[in-house]
């Protein structure tokens, strides 16, 4: 079957009445949770995972795709109306979007963000539908040693590109790798880092770690380290609509944002921070209204928002084709797949084509539902921002604890959640980024599996790890990622000393 036929098949699966219903519920829930300040897309999806447990896989996938896009959309609403640079992908949106809102242009900012996200999401999902299968076809020939090299590259880029200290990013990665070791080793059955605890033999629940790092860690951090200043919501006047002039100034940034965001999602560049920033810089350089930047230029919202969504869709390419998450959100998506017993990777397109194509079709449907449902109801979402701060934090804390408990109905998981919450506090306090921990936790066991496979085949000969040409190229890339920033800093120092 060709890709187009498979995709049409996928649409047939996604567009039944029941599945559409689940899509609508997903859109509403995703937006609802994403709009709440302090909740980014990764946490929103992780918090909503338990809800998708109870429905059929196809319905769960479409609901999930809707949550995915809904959470991202909700995040941009918050940053425009509330100026909340909490989640890395929305920092740039807040920059211009909030200024627009202050000047009474909140409606236009929300509209350009929503329509831009829709266009970028649709184009990017279209490319995904064709790129992922071909990448998977190629990836079937990738050896265990290549995979191991690829994961080392992912570790390094995620560890070094996030936060402002390479060592601290690597520290976060190390803690994640250590947590990933806990439990019985799948290949030999040896028990690691359990200290005699029977619950720990099954390993640490990934969703629990993610939810506690974000939610409990944040609650502890705000309580201990921030002054209670509250926030001010910019009131929204009029409807979420754009004028002809706005549209004229937005469409090129949308397309450029898509072109920047998608490829950077495919390579492990550590999430949406880099592409949204690049898109912003591009729009600023190309704009005819340079004087407006910093005071509410619509291009500065349109471009980064499109880049953010295209980036999220791009991250699905390595996730589906290689089973490799490149951002915290993609890592949560991987966990979601695993709860439905679907293992992303090159064989997914062979073993579970129905599921993949339903998912890809669901992404189109979810994205469209989002545009249709959200723009008219944006005022309803805005009401959510009025929840008093104390109740917001209690609510997030209670949902996180409940999520940790219901995964296995085990009190042991709750103690783990509290411990991880403290780690989340300590990391924030000492400027250690959180995403590398999540990537290490999820990719660590996979990296170990591939390394042992490669060495098993070669009877322990280490040279097997860098014997293929792909692995050689990857190790060169790895070298460049580590050495590049060092050289860069050194040059800067030299220039400063002159």
């Amino acid at each position: 079957m060709s890709n187009v036929e498979s995709l049409l098949h996928g649409f047939a699966g996604a567009l039944t009445l029941t599945n559409l219903g689940f899509g609508i519920i997903g859109t509403i829930l995703g937006t609802l949770v994403g709009v709440l300040p302090g909740i980014g897309p990764a946490l929103a999806i992780a918090l909503l995972l338990p809800i998708t447990y109870t429905v059929s896989p196809a319905a769960a996938l479409i609901m999930f795709a809707a949550i995915y896009y809904g959470a991202m959309y909700g995040g941009s609403t918050t940053s425009i109306l509330l100026n909340t640079p909490g989640e890395s992908g929305s920092v740039i949106t807040a920059l211009e979007g909030h200024q627009m809102a202050k000047r009474g242009r909140a409606g236009a900012a929300l509209a350009t963000a929503a329509i831009g996200s829709f266009i970028a999401g649709t184009i990017a999902t279209g490319i995904l539908a064709f790129a992922a299968p071909s990448l998977a076809g190629w990836a079937i020939r990738v050896t265990a040693a290549d995979y191991f090299a690829l994961m080392l590259v992912a570790f390094t880029t995620v560890g070094t590109l996030l936060g402002n200290s390479m060592l601290r990013g690597m520290a976060s990665l190390g803690v994640g790798l250590a947590i990933g070791l806990v439990g019985s080793d799948l290949q030999s059955g040896a028990v690691r880092l359990t200290f005699g605890n029977l619950h720990a033999i099954d390993g640490i629940e990934t969703v629990t770690v993610i939810v506690s790092l974000f939610a409990l860690g944040e609650a502890l951090y705000i309580a201990g380290r921030a002054k209670a200043t509250g926030w001010s919501i910019v009131p929204m006047k009029g409807k979420a609509l754009m004028t002809r002039e706005d549209l004229k100034r937005s469409w090129k940034p949308w397309l450029r944002g898509t072109a920047i965001g998608f490829p950077l999602g495919i390579v492990p560049a550590g999430g949406s921070e880099v592409p949204t920033f690049l898109s912003y810089a591009t729009e600023k350089a190309l704009s005819k209204h340079k004087d407006e930047f910093g005071k509410g230029a619509i291009e500065g919202v349109a471009g980064p928002e499109a880049a953010n969504n295209a980036n999220a869709a791009g991250a699905l390419v390595p996730l589906l084709a290689l089973g490799l998450p490149t951002s915290a959100t993609a890592a949560v998506v991987l966990v979601a797949f695993q709860t439905y017993n679907i293992q992303p990777g090159p064989f997914l397109f062979v073993t579970n084509p129905d599921i993949v194509w339903t998912l890809i079709a669901s992404l189109f449907v979810g994205n469209t539902l989002l545009l249709l449902l959200n723009l008219p109801f944006v005022r309803v979402w805005v009401q959510l921002l009025k929840i008093p701060r104390p109740y917001l934090f209690s609510g997030i804390t209670c949902f996180a604890l409940m999520g940790a408990y219901v995964a296995n109905n085990a009190i042991f998981d709750l103690w783990i959640a509290l411990g991880v919450g403290v780690i989340g506090f300590v990391f924030r306090r000492f400027g250690v980024p959180i995403t590398p921990l999540i990537i290490g936790l999820i990719l660590g066991p996979m990296a170990e599996l591939q390394m042992r496979r490669a060495l098993q085949i070669s009877f322990g000969d280490i040279s097997a790890l860098y014997a293929t040409s792909i692995s050689k190229i990857l190790y060169l890339a790895l070298f460049a990622v580590i050495i590049g920033p060092l050289v860069w800093n050194f040059k800067k120092k030299l220039a400063l000393n002159k």
Partner: protein
Amino acid sequence: MINKKIGGELAFAGSLLILGLVVVFDSFNMLVPPGSGIIGPQIFPYLVGGFIIAIALGLFIQIFRGNLGVPEGTEFGDLVDKTDYKSFSMVAGAMLTYPVLIERAGFVIATSLVFWGVSYAFGATKILKNLAVSVIFSLVVYIAFSKGLNVNLPAGILGFLA
């Protein structure tokens, strides 16, 4: 003065070092099942432990050079330099009651207590109003999840109501 400032940083790097040592030590003492092959379950933990130790040592050097971490900014107000231990321990204390009470007292009581404690720490100091909100929140969540979504939540001592 400087010593006090880097105390926390040193404690952080120190805990990382201990974590690395624990991983290596655990791997060293691991019971390896027979037939695990040439590449057994110990190699990867050794690598991870060694990696963590190396990073911890690097952090020590960085800290002594005066290169300290930049606390993460938040969207909820300005950062303070000294930890507010009162609010922190109230939030932490409220969270700690949850694993103790969830199965003994049940979901509604445990959740109400956490909700009440956390919101009090975040400045909702009207005790009675707060309590009402907490109980209503817990009941609504309990009914929505246990009746609506068939998620198994412990009823606890309020089980007779269900």
